[in-house]
Amino acid sequence: MVVGDFPEEVDTLVIGSGPGGYVAAIRAAQLGQKVTIVEKENMGGVCLNVGCIPSKALIEAGHRYHNAGNSDEMGISVGEVKLDFTKVQDWKQSVVKKLTGGVEGLLKGNNVEIVKGEAYFVDDSSVKIMDDKSSQTYKFKNCIVATGSSPIELPKFKWSDKVVSSTGALGLKEVPEKMVVIGGGYIGIELGSAYANLGSEVTILEGTKSILPGFEKQMSQLVAKRLKKAGVTIKTEAFAQEMEETDNGVKVKAEVKGKEEEFEGNVLLVTVGRRANTEELGLEQAGVEMDDKGLVKIDKQCRTSADNIFAIGDIVAGPALAHKASYEAKVAAEAIAGEPAEIDYTAIPEVVFSGPELASVGLTEQKAKDEGYDVVASKFPFQANGRALSLNESEGFLKMVTRKEDGLVLGVQIAGHNASDMISEACVAIEAGMTAEDLALTIHAHPSLGEITMETAEVALGMPIHIVK
């Protein structure tokens, strides 16, 4: 022990300041705990710095650039559209800064103590926090671990200035002429389409039979169609084998449907998954058990095998999503406060900010059948909705899965403009155990995209107004 390392005593210690950690810290403080949060990099974690937020900002910029000249049909034409990518990046960073600065303010406003450094468990009641210069021991009563996840590096595709993770892709200094993306999951699709919209010639290599394999085929097909229209090449059943650096980029060899093909890009983005940051934490020394994937095992209150240590977010099982992390954060904070909180949600929404947006909550038709439900699956197209037409955004559909016997809403999938806004209603409906009838009988504003939800519910009841049965 370094001379002078008298342990500091803290009440609730939160490790990591992503949407798991900072939300946990704030809620714990609101519930009367004295909270200390430790972060080794940037306030706000992956989500605010190199995840959800900057990706959405870049997507919006791409969207605006790509669509600037797209209103011809509506009588609006523009002269040359110019992109100043440095400015795009500056703007994106300004959004990030507003939010990360906000988080810091919120933590302070809730009297949370902020410590910069990397935490490492010494035992089940203390950690060492190291920064560049020194190390300090902290003894805690309770601890919430929210150290998140990191992009997986493939052995044959080592990170470099040409081979980048999502983090690198978000920070590019210029729009690459050509970009190859390994991985057609949501991160690859979001970033690939952002750069395609910003002018890159993009090729996406996806191992399974379709991009966005977690979504229904009809939904991912809409996205694939739009991507192709934007000039993106999509290769499915494509497995990148190895690469070679060239003067101004990389050459990727891949097996595509059994045949070898070669792809060139100035930048190669690899998004093949993320790994929980649980390896260099000393969790073993604290008696915190993990499963064989390196995820921390927790109970309904987010409590680990060590009674006073909780874990939330990307380091525990379930979809690696910010809103799941924040939800678990609140449960853990309340559990520590002695409240009867439990992970008790019915459904977690999933959104892809592609073109068009995809959103899904609850069960898909297939999943519901697999779980033994007798279901009705109903669909309604955006093109029969007045609001969608008046926005000139009439592509897509909403699909609702209901239980046959009573119309209970089990799942909603949306592919279309503002699906990310529309899904909230479905979340609330599923969470509250509402039926198709409940949604059909709720007056929805005209004209609005919400009417699509109402009308799909009417399809489920066998009486749609705006499509013929």
Binding site: Y186, G318, P340, A341, Y345, A347, K367, T435
Partner: protein, 63 residues
């Protein structure tokens, strides 16, 4: 990611169908919501169901 999830019984039989608030209330009242039969649409358990349950069996709901 990409796997729609739903956090209700996995056997095709939905138990404890209620709004999040009612589910929380049940926890606070120490009632196992799975034990209740709801009177709302689709068998939804209402706040009033909790109240009548706790009146009926005041000693029942201790874990």
């Amino acid at each position: 990611r990409g796997q729609s999830s739903i956090n209700r019984g996995s056997s095709g039989k939905i138990k404890g169908l209620a709004t999040p608030y009612v589910r929380q209330l049940a926890r606070e009242m120490n009632i196992r919501i799975d034990d209740l039969q709801g009177t709302g649409p689709a068998g939804r358990i209402l706040e009033s169901d909790l109240q009548s349950y706790s009146k009926e069996s005041p000693s029942d709901h201790h874990t």
